[in-house]
Every structure is written in structure tokens, then in C-alpha cells.
């Protein structure tokens, strides 16, 4: 089974492993450098960081040197305080997992802007960040005294790795997952790591920080002899990087080194691709001597996975009886397949039960499934169990069906140069051919209707069954109409200028699915609060939405329907003898996502989407429409927007607004155009309808 992995929280050094059978020599004494490295004049004189104006501090130099033979990582960091806000950087914290590693040889000094350097001689504290039974995440911490703006801070220490293997980290991940502290992703299952892996990740150099870094050096050395190398099975070092504009590590037999300079500060933004794919980093890993190259790795791993899937599914003939019972009297192929799909969706989806970790399943005596027969007999399964059961039943019913393994893109994007099958290809879908058409199906996602797959498994890299694996391809993405939010709004303009009425919101495709998943396990009151918040976010400030009904949130119906009563106070305003009314009453800030002129990262929407508002406003007696906004329409390859306001009766306005985002990925060079698109939409939405008041009719202000 695939183990849930996360790289959150722990620096790369904690993941260091000694995979080679090289006995570690006795611990090296803490490095006793005769002195600190000299400070460059330019660094002494630096007052501001031109690459990050106003930055609280700048990293002048950092170094991480890992020596596998001594199981140590030496860390050095030189930082300059540039503003008062940077003084906090003189509070040093060094986290580690007690028992798995230890921190030794901590040294630090402060070099003031004027006067001699002062070595740190104060107390170093050790605090417990988290302790559960024998597992303890500890933090060495100390505060450097007498630090001022302009001070340079040097710190260095050694991380001594006491135990090999990543069990401590995995244990910690499991604990945190159980506590709900880690990102909650449904467990996939379906891939067993080999006892003798073909590639092993040994660490990640996190190159980019939240401060500008002038220069950094990372090194990994394993001082083994050629004989040791040959005896080890020919493991060799390899690397894969993220976001590095230039500079590849120098790789030797068992060593790697990277020197980089002028690394910009990382700045997270809304609507960007997963952060791990943007923050500069280098992954190091060993590849087994029998694996010639990356292509070979993917070929072998895909073949293993494929075999495992086939073994789990077994012979179709054994399921024919079961399948006949499921499809019943259906004769049309698509109907037959849909019945199988519905049947499998009726299984208990263990992956979506909150808190049901591997340990919890063991405790509750919920056995792991080893075959489709197990799944059908027990009536439950992890995600991969459910998908494979569906494919096996489909095959038994005579369909050409297969399981595909995809890189779910909600937390990463696939990197072919990073050799880890389970970390990257971490989810499964079904691919079934019916009448010459391939259907991508996601039976393991609760409430996912036939014909749809959760967005995280669309438009992403996948591998499918093949006689010559790996057979990579990109899963399709669904068009905007498969993520449609349609609002039917009926409002009365009240004499006081307020609008009051009802909204029926119909979500289909992805929009329905994500809300159904968000509301898994929630109760009526929680749903009411969540939907009312969602509605009020797109209404002007001060508005109120009261949920009146939710339909089909707990099943795979084509649409999820949510109904509200809404009140928008004071939207119609008086201007002399006229009344003004924005053409779209749905003017909340939630509709316009981009505020800033500058952007660093490309824009990444989870899926293409469409919002269609159909609004009818009934005017009170004595008001007549004098001016309506002209129809507007903007369209390009990335998006489209239209708005039309018609007078369908003397006292009735009919407004139709249609906004479509057709592309998921919008390169940063296109950001200005994308922002302009939403700015224009807002501007048109805010367009005013001018109403004339009959003599004697008065707009009553709320305060009167």
C-alpha cells in the first residue's frame, strides 16, 4: 500500500538516509572552525536589499553540507538585519526529531554595524514542540542579545543523524495526520513499495526562502571507496530540481554540490500552482545500479504497478455472476456500465472517513483488501480498491476497461525527473471504452457522477496499462460547462431602495462535486452556515442570505441545488428625482479575485468554470426605467463575459450575466489581461440603471 507522505514541516536534513551498507564511523567532533568566514565589505555596507526593497533582513550566505559517512549536516547561515521588523530574526529556532537526530555544536555571533563582533555565550534552551509517547519534536532555541539594525548574525551547528531510515518522520506524519494537522487528502492505496527500491529520496535542498539570499551552497558527500560503491549494488546519485532558473548541481559518484546566488525571496500568491512546484529546491536521490536511467525507472515501476493491479482484479470470469446481478435487465452498454458504476459508488469509501487512519483501521479490525473479491465481500475499500473493483466488474461485463494511475495535481504537478512512483502517481481512475468513446471515470470519489472526474485528476499526467510501459498521457480536462454555477435570482426593489427576493443556485459538474465533498460528514447547520457565507460573499456588504433548501447534496445527482432568501439593503439610491440601481446586485468582493497590479506567479485555476446569472428585478409602482446599460460582450481564448439588461415588462428588468474562464493556466505575462478582464466585468456589473420616479413617489431612506 502507498504510504501517505508529506514533506511539510521538516527540513530536508531530517529525511537523510544511509541507504548504503557503509558502516558509519564514530561521530566526528563538532567542527571547530578557527574563525568565522570573513565578511565582505559590500555586505557590511549594505543598508537595503535592492532585490527586495524594505525587506526586514537579507540572507548573505547559507550553507548546508551533508556528510553521509559521518551522518552529519553542517549548517551555516549569515544574515543581515535591515529594519526593526528584522530584529526577530535574532531569535533562533532549530527544530529536530529527538532520538532521530540531534543538534550539536551550536555557535553564533553578532557583528554590530560598528564595533567588534560578539560571540554568543548565552543559554540555549530546548523546548518540546510536540511529544506523543516516545516521539518528540524538539526545538533548540536562543535569543541573540544586543542586536540592532545593521547587525550581521552568524549561526552554525551540526545536525547529527542518529538513526537511519525515515520511520521517525513517517511516524510523525502519521501522528500529525491523525490529529488533523497535516493536509487531509484521501488515502489512495494500491501501490506497494518494493523491499528493494529502485530509487530512494535522500533529501531536499530548500533553496528559496522568504528572504532574498545572496549566495548559498549545498553539498552532499558520501566518502565511499570504489569497492564500497561496487558492493553497494552500484547505487548512484541523481537530482531533480524545481524552479531553478540556472545552476545544476555538480554530481559525482556519491556526492553532489550546488552553489547559487541572488535567489529571490519567495512570495506566495492566491491562485498559483502548488507552492512546492514554485519554491526553488533540489531533490537528491539514489538510483539503483540496475536501473539504467529515468525511462527505465518508470518502465519498471509502471510494470510493477500494472501487475499489482491485475493481481488485485483477478480473472474477469470469476465476477461474471456478480456483474449480471448488478446490470440486471439493462441492455444498452452505457446503461450497463452506469449500473456497475452506481453499484461500486455504493461501497463504503474508507478513504473519505475522517480520522480513519491506517492505525485506526487496524484498531477497529478493518482488514486491508487484497483483491476485488475482498472488496465485494466486505463492502468497503480505499480509493484504489473501489476503482479496481469497478474496472474488474466492467471487464466482467465485457467492457474494455483499465485502471490508470494519475498524478493528482491539487498539491503538486508531475515531474518526470523526480523518480518516485508512489509520491507522484498517487491516485487512480478508470478508463472505459464504450461505443468507440473513452470514458474517464472516478468511481472512488463519493458523489462523483458518471462521466466526471474530480478536478485534481484532470489535465494531469497519468500512466495507463500497456504492453510497453510506461504509457504516459495527459488526462483530459472538462469544459467550463462541466463546472457551472447558475443562479436564478428574483428580486423586488423595495421603496426604501433595498432588494428582497430569492436565489436558486444550481451547481453542476465540478462545482457540485467540490461542494459535496466539502460537506461530507457535515450537518445541516454547518451546511447552512457554509452556503450562506458563500452567498453573502458575492453580495454587497450588509446583505443577508438565508438558506431555505438544499437538494441533492448527498448523492450523485446531476445538479446540486441551493435556495436562499436574500436581502440587499440600500442598493437603490436616490439621485434627485431619479433612482439609481446597479445592473448586477451580486456585487460582492468574492466575484473579483485580482486586486494587485503586479504578480510574480502564473495564475492557476483548479478547473475551467462558468457562472451564469439570470436576474429578474420587479420595480415598485411609480418607478419607470429611463436608462438601461448597453449589452456588453468580451471574449478571447481564455475567457468570456457578457451582460444584457432587457425590459421585459414596464416594471420588470431581466438581466443575464455570463462569465466563463476557459483556461486553467494563465501565464504571468498574461496577468494584466486577466486582471483587466475581471476589472471590466466588475465595471460592467456596477453599471447603473436609471429609474424615474413618478411625481409624488419618494425613495424612503432607511434612516428617515
Amino acid at each position: 500500500m502507498t504510504r501517505k507522505r508529506s514533506r511539510r514541516a521538516l527540513p530536508a536534513a531530517f529525511a537523510l538516509m544511509t541507504i548504503l551498507a557503509v558502516p558509519a564511523p564514530g561521530r566526528r567532533a563538532v567542527a571547530q572552525e578557527p574563525s568565522w568566514p570573513p565578511i565582505m565589505t559590500a555586505d557590511s555596507e549594505m543598508k537595503d536589499c535592492p532585490h527586495q526593497p524594505g525587506a526586514p533582513a537579507v540572507i548573505l550566505y547559507r550553507e548546508e553540507i551533508t556528510d553521509v559517512t559521518t551522518r552529519t549536516t553542517s549548517v551555516f547561515r549569515r544574515l543581515k538585519i535591515l529594519t526593526d521588523a528584522g530584529l526577530d530574526r535574532a531569535n533562533i529556532e532549530i527544530p529536530y526529531i529527538a532520538g532521530y537526530s540531534e543538534i550539536a555544536g551550536i555557535e553564533a555571533r553578532v557583528v554590530p554595524p560598528e564595533g567588534p563582533a560578539r560571540e554568543f555565550g548565552g543559554q540555549i534552551f530546548e523546548k518540546t514542540a510536540l511529544r506523543v509517547r516516545k516521539m518528540r519534536v524538539a526545538v533548540k532555541t536562543f535569543a541573540l542579545p544586543d542586536v540592532e539594525v545593521g547587525s550581521i548574525i552568524d549561526t552554525r551547528y551540526e545536525v547529527r543523524h542518529r538513526k537511519s531510515g525515515s520511520s521517525a518522520k513517517e511516524k510523525l506524519d502519521e501522528i500529525l495526520t491523525g490529529l488533523g494537522e497535516l493536509e487531509a487528502r484521501p488515502e489512495e492505496g494500491g501501490f506497494t513499495e518494493r523491499k528493494e527500491p529502485r530509487a530512494i529520496a535522500i533529501g531536499r535542498w530548500r533553496v528559496q526562502e522568504d528572504l532574498f539570499t545572496k549566495k548559498a551552497k549545498f553539498a552532499y558527500t558520501n566518502k565511499m571507496t570504489l569497492i564500497q560503491f561496487l558492493l553497494s549494488g552500484g547505487w548512484r546519485l541523481a537530482w531533480a530540481s524545481v524552479g531553478m532558473p540556472t545552476g545544476a548541481p555538480r554530481i559525482g559518484l556519491a556526492s553532489a554540490q550546488l552553489e547559487v546566488s541572488d535567489i529571490p525571496a519567495f512570495d506566495a500568491e492566491d491562485y498559483m500552482i502548488p507552492e512546492e512546484m514554485l519554491r526553488m529546491s533540489v531533490d537528491l536521490f539514489y538510483i539503483h545500479g540496475l536501473v539504467e536511467n529515468g525511462e527505465e525507472f518508470w518502465k519498471l515501476e509502471s510494470a510493477d504497478w500494472q501487475k499489482g493491479v491485475e493481481r488485485f482484479m483477478g480473472k474477469p470470469a470469476k465476477l461474471e455472476g456478480r456483474t449480471r446481478g448488478i446490470v440486471g435487465d439493462a441492455t444498452e452498454p452505457l446503461d450497463r456500465l452506469k449500473r456497475i458504476y452506481a453499484s461500486v459508488q455504493g461501497l463504503r469509501h474508507l478513504s473519505y472517513e475522517k480520522g480513519l487512519t491506517r492505525a485506526e483501521r487496524k484498531e477497529r479490525k478493518i482488514k486491508d483488501n487484497r483483491s476485488v473479491a475482498d472488496v465485494l465481500e466486505r463492502g468497503y475499500g480505499l480509493r484504489s480498491d473501489v476503482t479496481r473493483t469497478f474496472v474488474a466488474l466492467a471487464r466482467a461485463a465485457g467492457f474494455a476497461a483499465e485502471v490508470i494511475r494519475v498524478a493528482a495535481c491539487d498539491n503538486k504537478l508531475f515531474r518526470k525527473d523526480y523518480l518516485s512512483f508512489s509520491e507522484q502517481l498517487d491516485s487512480e481512475l478508470a478508463l472505459v471504452e464504450v461505443g468507440g468513446r473513452n470514458y474517464l471515470l472516478d468511481p472512488a470519489t463519493p458523489f462523483c457522477p458518471f462521466g466526471l472526474a474530480h478536478w485534481s485528476r484532470t489535465n494531469t499526467t497519468a500512466v495507463r496499462f500497456s504492453d510497453a510501459p510506461p504509457a504516459f498521457f495527459t488526462t483530459p480536462h472538462f469544459p467550463p460547462d462541466m463546472a457551472l454555477t447558475q443562479r436564478e435570482v428574483a428580486l423586488d426593489l423595495e421603496p426604501g431602495g433595498g432588494l428582497r427576493g430569492s436565489v436558486k443556485t444550481t451547481y453542476t459538474g465540478q462545482e457540485a462535486l467540490v461542494r459535496r465533498l466539502d460537506n461530507l460528514g457535515s450537518d445541516d447547520t454547518t451546511r447552512k452556515e457554509a452556503f450562506e457565507k458563500e452567498m453573502t460573499d458575492i453580495l454587497p456588504a450588509g446583505s443577508a442570505a438565508t438558506l431555505t433548501k438544499v437538494e441533492d447534496i448527498d448523492r450523485s445527482a446531476p445538479a446540486l441545488i441551493v435556495r436562499y432568501d436574500i436581502v440587499i439593503p440600500g442598493l437603490g439610491t436616490s439621485a434627485g428625482d431619479r433612482t439609481l440601481l446597479p445592473v448586477s446586485p451580486l456585487l460582492g468582493p468574492g466575484r473579483y479575485p485580482f486586486r494587485h497590479a503586479e504578480r510574480r506567479h502564473s495564475v492557476y485555476f483548479p478547473y475551467p468554470f462558468r457562472e451564469f446569472d439570470d436576474i429578474v428585478i420587479t420595480l415598485p409602482e411609480g418607478l419607470a426605467v429611463e436608462v438601461r446599460p448597453e449589452p456588453r460582450k468580451n471574449q478571447d481564448d481564455f475567457s468570456s463575459y457578457s451582460l444584457a439588461c432587457a425590459l421585459v415588462a414596464p416594471n420588470k428588468l431581466h438581466i443575464q450575466r455570463d462569465l466563463v474562464v476557459k483556461k486553467i493556466f494563465h501565464p504571468v505575462e498574461r496577468y494584466a489581461a486577466l486582471k483587466a478582464f475581471f476589472d471590466t466585468a466588475r465595471s460592467v456589473d456596477e453599471g447603473q440603471i436609471v429609474l424615474t420616479r413618478a411625481p409624488g413617489v419618494r425613495l424612503t431612506e432607511p434612516h428617515q
Binding site: 548565552g122 510536540l130 542579545p145 436616490s574 486586486r595 465595471s683 436609471v690 432607511p702 434612516h703
Partner: protein
Amino acid sequence: MPAAAAVKPPSWLADEAARPVPSLPPETEAVILLDEQSTVVNTKGVMTTICRRAARVLRPGGVEMLGRLALAVTYDSKVKSMRGWAINPSGSTREATMDQALSSSIAPGTLYMDAKIMVLTVPEVEVGSVVGFEWKEEQKPEAIEDNCAFQGPFPVLRAHYSISLPPGWEPHLRWINWPPPEPGPSASEAGTLSVDMADIPAIADEPLRPKEHALAGRLLVHIKPPSPHIRSFSAWPDMGAWYADLSGPRRVPDEAVSQMARKLITDSPDSLSKIRALAEFAQKEIRYVSIRIGIGGFQPHFAASVLANRYGDCKDKSTLLAALLQAVGIDSHFIIIHTDRGGVNLRSPVSLGSFNHLILAIRLPDDVPDAGLDSLVRHPSLGQLLVFDPTMPTTPLGRLPYYLQDNTGLLVAGNSGELLVLPRPGLEGNGIDRRGRLVLAGDGSLAGEITETRRGAEADFLRYHISAATEAGRRKYLETFLARFLGSFSLQSFEFKNLEDDRRDLVVSYRFVAAGYAKRAGGYLVVRPRILGSRAVDLDSKGKAPRRYPIDLETTLFARDEFTIEMPAGWTPDSLPEPIDLDSGFAAYASRTEESGRTLVYRREYRLTEPLLPADRHDEALKFFRAVGADEQQSLLLKTTETRTPQ
């Protein structure tokens, strides 16, 4: 985490699980069935408390909040045992024991502390579960008292409190935010005093209500031991004396402190400038670092050590400042206070746990004029006290941060103490003036510059955030602000003046172009003369029960806007919005749009004089702010001075 084994829960929990739950509002996450606390005090003043809590989870949120028990282990308190059980709707049961608890000594804003939090989680709790915890704590506090916090975010069906004292020890019950029961409880022959309560409502969420600790009912038990060797407080002077004793030696200046004080005031010609020089040093040159070991949560480090390290927490900063002042012959007194207002008022009984912050009251020499010092308190015996918080980096001497305005703290004076209400600045003390000159083009675009002059809390708050921001962060702040009011705009330039000089007004100016600000509507241009800024406050209770708690608008405020908009050539107002003039007693609001030649001039004033309103004024405040909101939406029509052809 490994799950606990299924076991039989204790009978008290099974009994609670069998009790019917009355009808409760649908938003109720959970209900406390039983909240029981029994304290036994021995002759040495050691308090052993056994607690039981049983709760029924009614909604998913209740799982998170009541499926866990969190207890603190500090230098004066130990957790002797903790166990938890769940009885699930299916009838299955679970247990968690103390060895499964996780612990952490991480605390926000604290570099190091030797205290830890222990958290015990019962696995597999779900909606419908009854969760029970039983735990035992032992403590020997600095001053003996007991607390029973019976009211919180969940309704409580039954609460029971008892305390057993050795012979000769006297308990005194103090009810906070709760009416004392009639008749009051009396001690049994065995010396045990018991209190039973039932149907305690939850503290509900309401917009802009005071913090929970200012509203929640609790029972404070003062204990008077016969022996003077066991400390207890019967009144605030007792606590003042204790703190004076605890902190006194720490604030004595040594030679290094005295030398620094003399150096800092070298160029200060008068008493106030001397005080200011010393205050600014403690405020700006001592970085905030909290290291709490043992009694370090109460006791400051020595002033000399704070000076040498150039770091410390609120106690340390105040202590160093006190020592620096003393070194130049100026007296000062600590004020112990809470950063959330409302928990303590002049009628509150003394309690060690009332506060979380330390500031300083500086005794002003007679030669200091008091003009312009908003934080000045005239004390009947101590004279003029200038209250100062050296921990808030952007509030200068003479002003109070908003969280201290109108707050009540314990003034530690001599070998005593007394409650002191801190001043609330006058209307002019917290203010913002916005003035803009803008040009409207015929295509509807608006261009120009707006300058904001901020005083008091309005300046401090922004200064605090902007000072720490990069240039890009400052731009983003302004863009986020402008985006609330303008659809499409380009921020062309901006400037923050006096950002580092908190004694002067903070002046923020920004130049922008807003395309399509005025909307074409047939032959009209629709213009909203209130270009930006909002004074409307959403107090709508969203259909829930009548308002129960006061409305806390934080500070007084005097805000003025004046926007001059040059109209495009050939356009003139069709009509002007009617002026508005509102006065609700606690606040006043007036706005007016006038035509002056080719310009429109929009002016408004907002005066908030009573920032804390009782609940019964909710409807009045709601109506007031709705009217303000409606006024802010007012637009006017410009028409061409030539032939008008509306469509």
C-alpha cells in the same frame, strides 16, 4: 496515534449519557451535561482538584472542541491524572489515558517557557457521542484562590462545585458576571462547601461583542487561611503588595542602567523630554522576546540583564524603563492589566489570573505641562501619572494603544495596589482626515491624489503593520484598500510620511487612476461622490435572538473626508444628493455634496464618542449604521450641458 482500547466507561458517565437532552438551538455544537469540580485544600495550601466533564456532541464542530482535554503543567501546577471516554451512538466505547496525551511547550510570541500543555484526545468521537473526561490537578499557586469557570461557548445542563478546607480556613465566594444564588451556599460540618447550578446558557457569538472573558460567568473563591505563611489575596491592595515585593528588586538600577539613563537624557532639556528619551529606548531599542522560566510568567528579569541583552517581554521592558527613570529621579509604578478590555472593572474582586500584561505609570514631575497627553491620569495621592506601554512599538509616550483605552488595571503603588481606569482619549485623539483632489474625465475615469492624515489609534495601527512591510507589501496594502471601493484602478504612486516618527501624524498619500469610475447611463454619467472609505458597521444579528451583549466599537473616532472632484467639461449635475445629518448620541454622521463652479465637493464627518454601547442600544446603532451605509452608496447624475439625449 494508536487508538485506545474499548472499555467500560465509568458509571457517572454512563448515567450522564442516559439523561435526555432538552431542545437547544440548532447551531449548538455540543452541550455540557455535567461540569463538576471538587477542590480539596490541605493545611500547606496545596490544592488538589478533581474534575469531571461530560458532554454530548451535537454537531461536527463539537467533536473538535470537546473530544479533547487540554491542561497546563506549570511550575506551580501538575497534572496528576487524566482519562477520557467516549460512548458512541452505536453503543461502542473508547478510552484514552494519560500516557496517550501529547504535550507541547510552544506558545505564540514566546521564545521559551518551561510550562507545557497536555492534550488528551479520545478517538472516534462523532456526532451523538457522549465524551467524558476525568482529571486531577495539584497546584500550589502564588496566592491561594480557586476558580470555577462554568460558562463558555456551550450550554451547561448541570454544574457542581465544591471545596473542602482545613478547619479554620474561610472561603469567600465571589460571583463574576453571574448573579449570586439566593440563599448562598453554606459549608457542611465537614468543612465542605458546595454549589449546584443548572441550565447555564452558552456565550453566544454576536458581531462586535466584548471578548468571552468579559462576559462569561465564573465563581472565584477567595480562601483565607489562618496562617500568614500561606499567601492569599482578599483585596487588590494585597495583590499590589505581593507584586511590589516580587518585582521591586528587579527594577533597581545598577551602575550600567544608571549610566545608560544619564547617557540617554544628555540632550533632554526638561523632564518630559527626559522621560520621552528613556521611554523610547525601552520601547524601540529593546526587542520583544519572551523567556518564561518558573515564576517568570509573573516576575520580570533584572533591569540590568534586560539592558545587557537588549531584549525582554512586557514585564522586562517596563522594569527596565522603571529602573532608567529611577536612575534619573523619576518615580513610576507598574500597572498590571489585560490586553482585552472588560474582564476587570472597579467592582471586580481580586484574582491572580485577571491580567496578562504589564505597563508603566510614570509620575510626572510638577514642571511638566499636561497638555496633549491623552494617557494622563490624575491620581488623588500620587499626582499626575503618565501611563505608557513600552511593548506597543508604535504608540508614543502620551498616548495609549486602543486596547488600553478605557481599560482597568491594577496600579502597584508602594506596598499596595488599587484598580485604576485608564483614560479614553477625547474625540480628537483618534482621528483620520482624508482629503482628495480628483479630476473626472468624460470617459468616466477618475484621477487624482488622496492624502490621509491619521492621529492616535488610527495612526498607531497602520504604522505598526506598514513599518514591518516591504515596499511591495505597502503597495499591496493600498491596492487591497482601494479595491474595496474602486473597480478598475492603477495605483500610480504612494508615500507614507512620518512612518518612523510616531510623535507626528502619519500621513499617507496615494495617487491613482480609476478607469470607468463614473458609469455611462444613457446621456448621464453616474458618479459616487464618496469615493472611498467606509464608516458603516454591520451589526446585523442575521435573524438570531435579540442582542445580549454590549457593542464594542473599540475607540473614539473623529473622521473627516473632503473630496473635490473636477467635472469634465460640458457636464453638470442633474441634481445633488440630499445632505444627511444623523445623531444617535453615541455617534454623529453628516455628509453633504455641493457644486462649486466646475467642481463637486463632497464632505462628511463621523464622530464616535461612545465606543462601548449597552445591548439595549443595538437597534438604535443598527439603524444608525444602516443609514450611514445607505448614504455611502449615494450617487449623482451628471448631464451634458448640451442637448441631453437619454436613451
